[in-house]
């Protein structure tokens, strides 16, 4: 078969048409930043700071950091606008002002997120430095016991067990539903999609209430880890199904048709072509749902009793979990208990971030593999596939 070497060189004998020398097209720079721009921002900020300080702190009977910052910001905007107006026409002044407003809003949101993380870690660090915090449970540990006693091992284990059960339940259900909606479909697929979409609207608390009323009040179960895991799965299934559906839908239809054209059955096409292609997306869907599930607090309030001791058996007795432990700890008036709660919050945050980092890594590696697979010279030259 491989008679013609697959190179991109033109065949011998073709006539070279002399054209105009290639012009390197340059996009119009939209983000030129001159010294003038930089100085007007910095100068306005400093000027506004000084002016606000004089007026706010010295002349007017006002106080408070928050008020100062707000006044400073407003003064800065006014000053920046007038500085720009000296050298630019009105549309450009408006554009520059909006740039500053958008940037500062994004910075504000970033700062808010940063304070959440920093504050949580800062308050939790006192309990986190004790190793027993990770290896002991709270059995026999009072609210005023020092931090070198007791720990949250029972809550971590409980959270993991519940999450494990919830994943084991929601992955097959969610994935099969997604496969049904994208690959089989039909009128019934539309019905299922509508129901699942509506289900993402159900507040997570109601899933807990449903499990409470049917299983605990109705069937007389006790409050166990299993009941909590069921409630978590109910909130997770629609998330998995919805995001897995999105991941499956972006699989190019040509791949499916190629599989079928080669004589594969529908099942073989789904199993060997569609699912492997969508694997990174499916993994992301699952892990994001896990991050949601592990932090789910509202249903746990209702269905899982809080224990202070280690209970690794989900079918009997109450089982504590990280969100529930945090919830009960931070409502306590006792400072040490609150610190324990924040330390548990750091652990929960760390779990969520690790799950999150895994999704990013998966996306990154799948991109690398994709490039490796499709950037081979045989594939990238036209006609290369035929040789």
């Amino acid at each position: 078969m491989a008679i013609i070497p697959s190179t991109a060189a033109p065949p011998a004998g073709s006539v070279e048409v002399p054209g105009p020398p290639p012009v390197q097209e340059q996009p119009r720079p939209l983000t030129t930043r001159t010294l003038d721009d930089l100085l007007s921002v910095v100068g306005s900020a400093l000027g506004a700071f000084a002016g606000t300080w004089v007026v706010y702190e010295q002349l007017l009977p006002l106080s408070g950091v928050l008020g100062f910052v707000i006044c400073w910001y407003i003064a800065f905007l006014v000053m920046y606008a007038s500085v720009c107006a000296l050298s630019h026409p009105r549309p450009i002044v408006v554009s520059k002002l909006m740039t500053v407003v958008m940037t500062s809003a994004a910075v504000l949101v970033g700062l808010a997120l940063a304070t959440v993380i920093v504050y949580t870690v800062g308050k939790g660090v006192k309990a986190l430095v004790h190793l027993n915090f990770f290896t002991r449970d709270m059995a026999g540990v009072g609210p005023t016991s020092p931090l070198d006693q007791g720990g949250i091992a029972h809550a971590i284990v409980g959270s993991m067990i519940m999450l494990g059960i919830a994943v084991a339940a929601s992955l097959p259900f969610g994935l099969a539903t997604a496969v049904f909606m994208t690959e089989v479909g039909g009128w019934f697929g539309k019905v299922v999609r509508t129901v699942v979409e509506a289900m993402t609207a159900v507040p997570d608390l109601l899933a807990g209430l449903f499990v409470y009323v049917t299983l605990i009040v109705g069937l007389g179960w006790e409050r166990t880890g299993l009941a909590a895991a069921i409630a978590i799965s109910i909130t997770m299934i629609p998330i998995v199904a919805r995001s897995a559906e999105v991941a499956l839908r972006v699989v190019p239809g040509g791949l499916r048709e190629a599989g079928q054209a080669l004589g594969a059955s529908h099942w073989q096409t789904v199993r060997r072509v569609v699912l492997p292609t969508a694997r990174p997306g499916l993994a992301t869907a699952l892990i994001l749902a896990m991050a949601r599930g592990v932090g789910e607090t509202a249903p746990l309030l209702i269905v899982s009793g809080a224990s202070t001791f280690m209970n690794a058996n989900p079918t009997t007795g109450p089982m504590n979990s990280l969100p529930l432990f945090i919830y009960s700890s931070i409502r306590s008036p006792e400072n040490l208990t609150i610190e324990r709660g924040f330390a548990a919050a750091v652990v929960l945050l760390a779990i969520v971030f690790v799950l999150f980092a895994i999704t990013r890594l998966l996306a990154f590696f799948s991109l690398k593999r994709f490039l490796k697979r499709y950037k081979t010279p045989e594939m990238s030259t036209p006609g290369g596939l035929w040789t």
């Binding site: 958008m102 809003a105 994004a106 539903t177 089989v184 699942v196 109601l206 529908h266 309030l301 919830y327």
Partner: protein, 333 residues
């Protein structure tokens, strides 16, 4: 070459509807079955909530919606105050989150340097993944003490507006700080932290889909960056802006933990968001299910049903808004 008639094979058309292979029938059957089960479970939840509420509405009638008190011992059960509180907290959250989400989404899609974009997108996603209990702890311990001053200021200078009124003297020698804590305003700020990333992610997704041709056309006509955004990106993304905001509203209506921790329970029918006390449906359920009798449990389920109907309405509207706009297909992810 001699060809006898017997050698001629009559052409038979290839079967073009070869019945589904067995493996495919099993495959289709099983995924259809699982989907059916999922649908039945979720349908059952809704039917169940609906059926339980019917008995409550029979028992209490319209009073269930107009009565503000929740006094099971006096057989006075109603959700008007709770419903109002739910809406007020959600609206407060939305009013704070909307401009920030819009500006952040515009910043990420239009202003941020290209190499920072991916990081910023993951940061917003991460913000959405932070459990609500952590925002609740942050709001209760860090935000609440700092918000008292803001609430007091709003009360002092804008107190003539009914929603900013607080039942205390703003100029008292000793400020009645407790009157300003545990308010719907503070709960709304914390909930806005959870609404923001959801709304922002949807908006950014839509803005990124704005047609490059039209962007370039705006620049080619000499437009500034803001001019381009105002005339191309924002009109194109209008559906996504509204849809994303409503999706966030859906989340805000159902938020439980943050509200349960921050808001002090009160059953007054009031619009005074700066004042201590208030209630939302999810807070009511979370706090009252434990000691509820069967009748009260049904009433809580009915309250939950009202919440569900509200959320569903908002989310459906959001979905319609998103799909009606030009940018519809872009918000799938």
């Amino acid at each position: 070459m001699d060809v006898s008639v017997s050698d001629l094979v009559l052409d038979e058309p290839r079967e073009i509807h070869p019945g589904t292979p067995k493996v495919d029938r099993i495959f289709h059957g099983s995924v259809r079955f699982v989907a059916f089960v999922v649908m039945v479970i979720f349908g059952a939840i809704r039917l169940f909530l609906g059926a339980k509420s019917v008995s409550t509405f029979h028992l209490y009638g319209v009073r269930f919606l107009t009565e503000s008190d929740w006094e099971p011992s006096l057989n006075r059960i109603g959700i008007s105050a709770t419903l109002l509180g739910t809406v007020l907290v959600a609206l407060t959250a939305l009013i704070i989150a909307f401009p920030l989400a819009l500006a952040t989404a515009l910043y990420i899609s239009e202003y941020a340097p290209a190499r920072l974009k991916a990081t910023l997108v993951s940061l917003v996603d991460m913000m959405a993944a932070v459990p609500s209990i952590i925002y609740a702890a942050w709001g209760f311990f860090l935000l609440m003490p700092h918000t008292i001053g803001v609430s007091h200021w709003l009360h002092e200078y804008l107190g003539f507006i009914p929603i900013f009124r607080v039942d205390t003297d703003p100029n008292a020698a000793v400020l009645a700080q407790a009157r300003y804590t545990g308010s719907m305003f503070i709960a709304g700020i914390v909930v806005s932290m959870m609404v923001l990333p959801i709304a922002c992610a949807v908006m950014r997704g839509v803005f990124a889909q704005a047609p490059p041709g039209e962007r370039e056309a705006a620049y080619a006509l000499g437009g500034t960056r803001w001019g381009m955004i105002r005339t191309v990106v924002l009109p194109f993304g209008r559906g996504g802006i509204i849809g994303g905001t409503m999706l966030g509203l859906g989340r805000a209506l159902g938020e439980t933990v943050a509200v349960a921790i921050i808001l002090s329970a009160a059953f007054d029918f009031k619009f005074r968001i700066l004042e201590n006390g208030g209630n939302t449906i999810s807070k009511l359920i979370a706090e009252r299910f434990g000691d509820a009798t069967t009748v009260q449990l049904a009433a809580l389920l009915a309250a939950g049903f009202v919440l569900f109907v509200m959320t569903l309405l908002v989310n459906t509207l959001a979905a319609i808004m998103i799909s009606r706009s030009r940018s519809g297909a872009a918000t799938e992810a």
